[in-house]
């Protein structure tokens, strides 16, 4: 989706402002929103890319005006409403009206540390051979996928060179649609001038691209 979350190259957001002491949260509710989002992710009703898609498809003006954890909370509410895990009435009143919907997995407190340590590896076996090799000239396809994609707008239709191959990984675009087929994953180097002309201080930008993003350059 060509959403406002895909902001690489946008200008006028102001300077990066490091904070003294780097507090992880700026209000108690942020800590709870973070924990709720992780716990519900562990319920396995949706996958990581579906949760990203939910956040990215919030209304653009709302997204830009929201803090990071407000976006997480709004994305979580959206996912839970869409899947019937809560109703609007329950949300408004903060009380359960309907019996709980069964979920595949309940993340209880004793499971959290192990689950976080385990992570969620995305590498998968895939038969056949990767189409491209290190050193190959490639060009990104001009895609305007209306659903979740990880190919940034700033590097569509651009020429680059494969610099690394990573094996096959869960393909985020398909995973967000609930389809799990893996695709070969590459790191592609784009010259700064190819992406931005002369208005850049980047000599090169490397982007991780699944094979469906690429054609021979």
């Amino acid at each position: 989706m060509n959403g406002v979350h895909d902001m690489g190259g946008m200008q006028n957001f102001g300077p990066v402002v490091p904070e003294a002491g780097e507090p992880r949260f700026h209000a108690a509710w942020e800590r709870r929103a973070f924990a709720l989002t992780l716990a519900m992710g562990g319920a396995r009703v949706w996958n990581l890319d579906q949760s990203r898609a939910a956040r990215e498809s919030l209304p653009p003006a709302q997204y830009l005006a929201s803090s990071y954890y407000q976006i997480w909370l709004d994305g979580l509410i959206k996912l839970m409403l869409e899947r019937g895990l809560i109703t609007r009435e329950e949300l408004a009143e903060g009380r359960m009206h309907e019996p709980p919907v069964p979920i595949p997995n309940v993340v209880t407190a004793d499971k959290v540390t192990a689950a976080l340590a385990r992570g969620s590896p995305t590498e998968r076996p895939l038969a056949g051979a990767a189409r491209f090799r290190v050193g190959d000239a490639v060009r990104t396809r001009v895609l305007n996928t209306p659903t979740h994609t990880r190919l940034p707008r700033y590097c569509r239709g651009k020429r680059g060179t494969v610099t690394m191959t990573h094996g096959a990984h869960v393909f985020a675009d398909a995973n967000a649609r609930g389809q799990g087929e893996p695709q070969w994953l590459y790191t592609v180097r784009f010259e700064g001038s190819e992406l931005w002309g002369s208005d850049t201080s980047a000599a090169a930008v490397h982007v991780d691209c699944w094979e469906p993003y690429l054609e021979a350059g």
């Binding site: 946008m10 490091p18 790191t187 980047a202 930008v205 490397h206």
Partner: protein, 91 residues
Amino acid sequence: MPPVWYKSAPYRSRAVIDPRGVLADFGVTLPDDVELRVWDSTAEIRYLVVPERPGQTDGWTEEELATLVTRDSMIGTGRALTPAQRPRAPS
């Protein structure tokens, strides 16, 4: 967890087009002949920078050199500490 600035619109929008400007926001100014290469981790692969070895460290052990490595130097938004900047070892 990453710091808030790492997830903020200014960093996400600007790192790929004006990394020199982003470094300046961190108080890091590099000579013009230092080439800046950005890695935008769009998949689940994560990268870290092996910081450039500072001067005045000839003969240092790996453990001693590790005391000069900071988180930001591995993100690429800062350089490794110099020996003079090194936090004092507990005595």
